[in-house]
Symmetry: C2
Subunit: 517 residues, 2 copies
């Protein structure tokens, strides 16, 4: 296959229109194109597209015009000497279509064994009861520092590998991972993503404040937060020098777990690179947490603390943002920092409902995060569903009633399927500062995509007399089509009933990284 120049993807492509940057009340639209696009084997970018090549004849003409030879075609033009291409076709009869890969802007890889385990806790007791114990098992602290991924406990490797396999199987082509404080395991996560071919930001978690971190799981000093972070950055820059797939991300856990010297040195560290490194942390997830930060930094807002330490940048991902004040939103907007909305987690831990439509109306950039294991699911499709559901309950909350803008039409806060899919793709791309490269099917963009298969409508007869006592074989997974749906309604059914069974294949930069078993 090394002599294949392009992979030509053909038939149905669906993505979201790109919205203008800045404050906007416009809403994204789903767009469906039938035709072909071709992706360079060398760099995984879309080199061209032809939305008129939707039928066999015009596709054949496209192939001939370019002198392309399909390496898998049964018959070849005798003596043809054109460029070899591989053709991948979405089967319209099975309701297959290409869709941009999902971007998970906030996920804690080591917490995956706890997915679904949270009882009735809220953030601060959840951290103590569930999170710190599981994360602490990813290595040893207070030992001779090592950078070697092989110094990672086998159980930790297994968890990381499973997280990557699972997120890929749900169509996540890019994830911004929180790892743990351990350098070897964090490097192992980077190596495993690189090996499996998932695009990833890898963050070594910094937490050095003895007042709010347990003795058994924390950085001994602010200096350790800094030097261990540098070790991981160095490892990743060696693993993937140009950052094609894997990039480091500076990761102070959140304000209470970090001392001021740690916050300060991490802000400086990010700024010391050209371009500056990405940063990720948490903000305003839970009311008790917000009160704690107020107590720690009287007179400074939560967002203001990050800003004070140069951690609020255009490459910063702020997870949650459930309880921001309007002045904090304005500050975040001024710095062009980004928000990761994690609705499954916010509902599961009872944190509250982030006012996403308000963020978007004000021009903030928002993507979706699974927040495993505050979130119980590694699926961004599930996050999209929960974003829709939570937004439909937002109007019933006390805080929303207080803040409601009288000018807004009733129900504007409800996120549509289109909007939640926008957050899952274009929005996520903007959150990781790759809006020009990911999230849609445009010439020059990187081909991070999934092939969705909804299945077909099955014909059945004689139900009252018949003996067939099994599900008809048309549907794939739980998506039931009856032949009466518009294509937009099929997308709605995918969002509300779909799961990993509908993800037939996944590509990152044109490399096939998952194929449904």
């Amino acid at each position: 296959m090394s002599n294949v120049v392009y992979t030509v993807y053909r038939d149905t492509f669906i993505h979201l229109t790109r919205l203008p940057e800045g404050p906007s009340r416009s809403k994204p639209q789903l767009v469906r194109n039938c035709g072909a696009l071709w992706v360079s084997t060398e760099d995984g970018r879309i080199k061209g597209l032809d939305w008129s090549a939707g039928d066999e004849e015009s596709f054949g003409a496209l192939m001939a015009r370019n002198g392309w030879i399909d390496i898998n075609a049964d018959t070849q033009t005798p003596g043809a000497g054109g460029m070899k291409v591989q053709v991948v076709k979405a089967d319209e009869a099975r309701n297959e279509f290409f869709f941009p890969g999902f971007i998970d802007t906030h996920i804690h890889a080591p917490q995956y064994p706890n997915a679904g385990l949270f009882g009735s806790t809220t953030l601060l007791d959840w951290l103590e009861a569930y999170t710190f114990p599981v994360e602490s098992a990813f290595g040893k602290t207070n030992t001779t520092p090592t950078n070697d991924p092989k110094d990672t406990p086998p159980s930790a490797l297994r968890i990381y590998d499973q997280v990557i396999a699972r997120t890929l199987s749900h169509g996540t082509t890019c994830a911004s991972y929180f790892a743990t404080v351990h350098v070897p395991a964090t490097n192992a996560l980077a190596a495993l993503c690189h090996k499996r071919g998932q695009r990833a930001f890898i963050g070594r978690v910094c937490m050095d404040n003895p007042s709010f971190c347990p003795e058994y799981y924390r950085d001994a000093t602010a200096e350790e937060s800094l030097t261990s972070t540098k070790s991981v950055i160095e490892y990743i820059h060696t693993l993937d020098p140009k950052g094609h797939l894997i990039k480091p991300i500076i990761t102070p856990r959140f304000v209470p777990t970090c001392t001021r010297p740690a916050l300060e040195s991490l802000g400086s560290l990010a700024a010391s690179y050209e371009p500056p490194l990405h940063i990720q942390t948490h903000i305003s997830e839970n009311l008790n947490e917000v009160a704690l930060v107020e107590k720690l930094f009287p007179g400074v807002s939560y967002a203001g603390v990050y800003d004070k330490y140069s951690l609020l940048t255009k490459r910063t991902i702020l997870a949650h943002a459930v309880h921001l004040s309007s002045s904090e939103r304005a500050l975040i907007r001024a710095r062009d920092a980004k928000i990761s909305h994690c609705p499954a987690s916010n509902s599961a831990l009872g944190s509250g409902i982030a006012p996403v439509r308000t963020f978007l109306d004000e021009g903030l950039t928002v993507g979706l995060g699974t927040d495993v294991s505050g979130g119980y699911s590694p699926s961004i499709l599930e996050a999209a569903r929960q974003a829709c559901l939570a937004s439909r309950l937002l109007g019933h909350t006390a805080s929303f009633s207080d803040q409601k803008n009288e000018e807004c039409e009733a129900g504007r806060e409800k996120l549509s399927v289109e909007e939640s899919l926008y957050l899952a793709t274009r929005g996520g791309a903007a959150v990781i500062d790759m809006a020009d490269e990911l999230g849609g099917f445009e010439e020059g963009m990187i081909f991070d995509a999934q092939l969705i298969q909804l299945g077909s409508v099955a014909a059945v007869e004689g139900l009252l007399e018949g003996t067939g006592n099994v599900l008809v074989d048309g549907p794939v997974g739980n998506v039931d089509l009856f032949g009466t749906e518009t294509w937009e309604e099929k997308i709605q059914k995918w969002v509300w009933s779909g799961d990993d069974r509908n993800v037939k294949a996944v590509w990152v930069a044109g490399r096939l990284v998952h194929r449904r078993a």
Copy 2:
């Protein structure tokens, strides 16, 4: 197999403890037993159980003691002349266990093609835009009356068959269905449930009020509501004379769609049977709906209207109950009417969050409903998840803040996994007035059950060097076990990550009605 006397189910059984009736602050517990129980082939009831027969030796002793011969055993005692039994075993190595079948106390079978299609509508516009059009296609109104299921449009048969197949595949052994106004199609739904072996209550929908029902889809008169309902009752009583599997249920859609004469005659009709027939309807789902009912019946509460027309009985299922007043709750409690909590629907349509813990503390009987297609999923497991999630947001709602009882500990409103599974099984059984017969594994109860398979922990090695680029084959569906979980935690993972892939087989009254493909 006709000479098989018992089916002996063996190994792991998990169910919920039964709570006392009436106001109670006690919480249900999950109980796990290892052993065997045996179900009569004749009537599908549990004839005995032995929780000490958990290992091969004691199980063998149980078989020998009873003189049972396993019809599928490789070797038989020569000349043995005991009773023939079939043995069905849950495989512990694959984390299999028997669990009571789910009971869906509120589902609209004809709306299934609309699952996932609701846009940003709320109840009243949703009915007009989505619901009435799809329901109206299940037959013709204003034609010569017929009772024959064969007069049902083929597309309607197909939808009903698929709904039954789907709900069975999700472990629903019993459902209380709303059909449409059409007698033939409603009878066909009954016939299809009977054929597939799903326990069901079948309700012919009554809606005769021209002010709130569309011209193209309503009963012409109150008399038609009554006579068509009687036709369906008669059909079902002929189909299943003793009501072993299928029972009729009187179904006035909800207050606004029914005239006073219709409400009155339906209440009388239910009371005219011995025992009185079951009744199902909607109550207080949406604030605009509540306001409308207030306008129609000034000075009478919504629950009071049903009571006025003898529709509030111990065999009445009230769906939703999101916005009940405390005096309505007291009235419902006094009449011992039951509540179907439909959290997925209530979130999807933005109806609000029903205060389930308050209901339970006050002694109301509550089960779960999918409310397809206000609810987007036919899965009661999904309903259980959404019950947990919604309850975790309840504390943020304006109405809850207003009503909060200062005596309650913080967070008491949050439903646990145990509580939501209780609602899905024991609670549902109580809602359909079968608490002594369904919902648990007890001697004398009917064996409506599902075999859950969570899968095994997979051993993997050499991840950093290896080439294996596929998901390990241990898990079933999305439930990932790492070998560190307690059995209670495995149940939590099932609830939060499980789906129909984990439902290996389903029995109703001891009859195998679904086996995973």
